[in-house]
Amino acid sequence: MNSINDLKARLNQAGIVLNEPATPASLETPWVVRVLQAFSGWLAALFLLGFVAMGVVFVVESPAASLGLGLAMIGAAYGLFRKARSDVLEHLALAVSLAGQLLIAWAAVAFWEESATSLWALVAWSLFGLQSVLALVMPSLLHRTFSAFAASLALYMALAMSAMALVASGFVLLALTLLWLNEFRGPGSIRVVQAWGYGLLLGLLVMQGLAHSGQSFVFWFDAHSTSVLAWSAPWLSAVMVALSLALLLYNVAKSKPHWSLYLSPIALLLISFYAPGVGQGLVVVLLGFAMGHRLVMGLGVLSLLMGIGSYYYWLDATLLTKALTLLFTGGVLLTLRLALHKWLSIEGNMPSPSEGGHGK
């Protein structure tokens, strides 16, 4: 309560007239409870789907029936979410919707199977469309998070079929940067924007994990994916990472940061070309710091570590070249820090020895 009162006092000082609360303060559901809800919903959906597959065999045998039942289940889930005033109903709605989505995915595979061109690309684009619509319309924050996550993975899968997987992670980073920067656009949309933002961030981490393990959806489905535009993927990805940082800096410029920050998109463009994961991780770390959001920042650190890890496995350069590049980068970064200390007199801003880090 003290922190609320401190904040109120601070806002009053800034000349903001505060109203009496229109609604009582509700306790936010902790994220770990939402994880449990999503996990059990997903698990229940799998058994529900098994029941449909075994109990009503004709449904899975016919793509049209599968699609029809899938859409009906999603419609029922939508209705339940609108009416749900209890956790039990919300839970049921989530499981029904997830089972419906699996049925639609099954129908998409059966429907496009006859297609001579890339089956999995068509399936992935269909799923991307479905998940994007669900992320927009489903009246449940948990569902929106899940759909944003699933949409980002479907996009990755679709672009991976054209050897453009890198573009997907760049695009998702750009989208999540735009979302988080517009978190406080309207009082009614804060939670929705956060739900999408978390979903996309989780999607980005999974994409980096796939890149790190040297696997991709391409490996699983189609070893011959190519595209005439494949050569442009690293550049497009690097440009999107740099653009995300530029947008972030434009937003931060309102609080007058140090001028040296403006040089960073150019440096990041180069880093992202050779080590996309590193560039993406750095942007997420900076984004989390700029918004005062510790969870986003922590996930950014994880993303950065995965990016550094995948650099080791990057095949276009020998380990000797990579070692020399790291040596040069490390030297430049430390020299830059020294220069900031010496010439720009940041010393006055340095933390006291007791500040930061934790004693053990």
Binding site: P187, V332, N349
Partner: protein, 324 residues
């Protein structure tokens, strides 16, 4: 990084802040860092990234295994890097953050040095010996650094060593399958460290939050996997895990419900129990039953009921914990 984001959102949602004043309120709330905070943050980011890039440069160089370069030169280079890092850490003018970066880099470089010994002399040692020696040799630095992240990295090394040891040699009496022995090893190690860390947090003011939660995951995941393995392989017949798992759940509940209330830990226990119970139902109704569609529906309903029940209960606990 102190943040009042939760309070700000709560005020906006309650309608306390007029919608037309929202942008001004966000600026006035101090949610966005000041130029000074940015300067500090960039300073630390440059220091950490620069220090780690140099340490990784040495690691990548050794991994390249440049045979034209003499062994003494390679050893000399890595040892010089270690001495330089430790030198910076003991330098009187170094700030606490510089010392932490230097000791983290030095700890990484010890691993590189051990890998180089293995590379040059082809010692034939098991991988667990590398990680164990690495952990033992870096312990003094980790101890003096008094830095949470370095402790967690060190425990990660110890986990690797213990996991690899039991995977290679099986259990203490050779009666356990090697992967099961590794899970037992990790469970015992992480549970002991968790208990020590909780004691330190209570009596010595050690930091809690994420490190303790990571350790709880290190304790919970192996025991859950052991329980799942038991159900899959033999069902509910007698095994030490049959006694350990309920005991672990009970202690987790007792400690984090009453002694040090933490919803994360209790929710983790719920996820573990939900997984184990679902697997048990699947074994009883599907594998030992006859795969009827009714059984699948029954399990779906059971999972829904357990999940919803857990969510309702955890929300109530959350309310209790935030009021106390």
């Amino acid at each position: 990084m102190a943040s009042n984001r939760r309070e700000l959102i709560s005020l906006i949602e309650q309608g306390v802040i007029p919608p037309e004043q929202m942008t001004r309120a966000v600026q006035a709330s101090g949610l966005h860092p000041s130029p000074r905070a940015w300067a500090l943050f960039i300073d630390r980011l440059l220091l950490w990234l620069g220090g780690l890039a140099l340490a990784f440069a040495v690691l990548f160089f050794v991994a390249y295994n440049w045979t034209e370069m003499g062994r003494w030169l390679r050893f000399g280079m890595v040892q010089a890097a270690v001495v330089l890092a430790v030198g910076i850490a003991v330098w009187s003018k170094a700030t606490p953050t510089v010392k932490r970066v230097a000791l983290t880099a030095a700890s990484l470089l010890v691993g590189v040095l051990l890998a180089l010994i293995g590379q040059v002399y082809q010692t034939g040692a098991d991988p667990w010996q590398l990680f164990f020696s690495w952990a033992v040799l870096t312990l003094p630095w980790v101890w003096v650094a008094r830095f949470e992240l370095l402790w967690v990295l060190w425990l990660g090394l110890l986990n690797l060593a213990v996991g690899l040891y039991f995977r290679t040699w099986g259990g203490p009496f050779g009666v356990l399958a090697s992967s099961e022995a590794a899970q037992w090893g990790l469970f015992i190690l992480n549970t002991l460290v968790l208990a020590v860390w909780e004691w330190g947090a209570h009596d010595r003011g050690w930091p809690q939050q994420w490190a303790v939660r990571l350790l709880a995951l290190g304790s919970g995941v192996p025991i859950t996997l052991l329980m799942m393995t038991l159900i899959i392989e033999v069902g509910l017949s007698w095994s030490p895990v049959l006694a350990s798992y309920p005991l672990w759940l009970a202690v987790l509940y007792g400690v984090y419900r009453y002694w040090r209330p933490d919803l994360f830990m209790i929710a983790g226990g719920c996820i573990s129990l939900l997984t184990v119970a679902t697997l048990l139902l699947a074994r009883l109704l599907l594998w030992e039953g006859d795969w009827q569609e009714g059984s699948l529906m029954l399990i779906a309903i059971a999972v829904l009921a357990m999940g919803a029940g857990a969510v309702v209960w955890l929300k109530r606990l959350h309310q209790e914990m935030s009021q106390s």
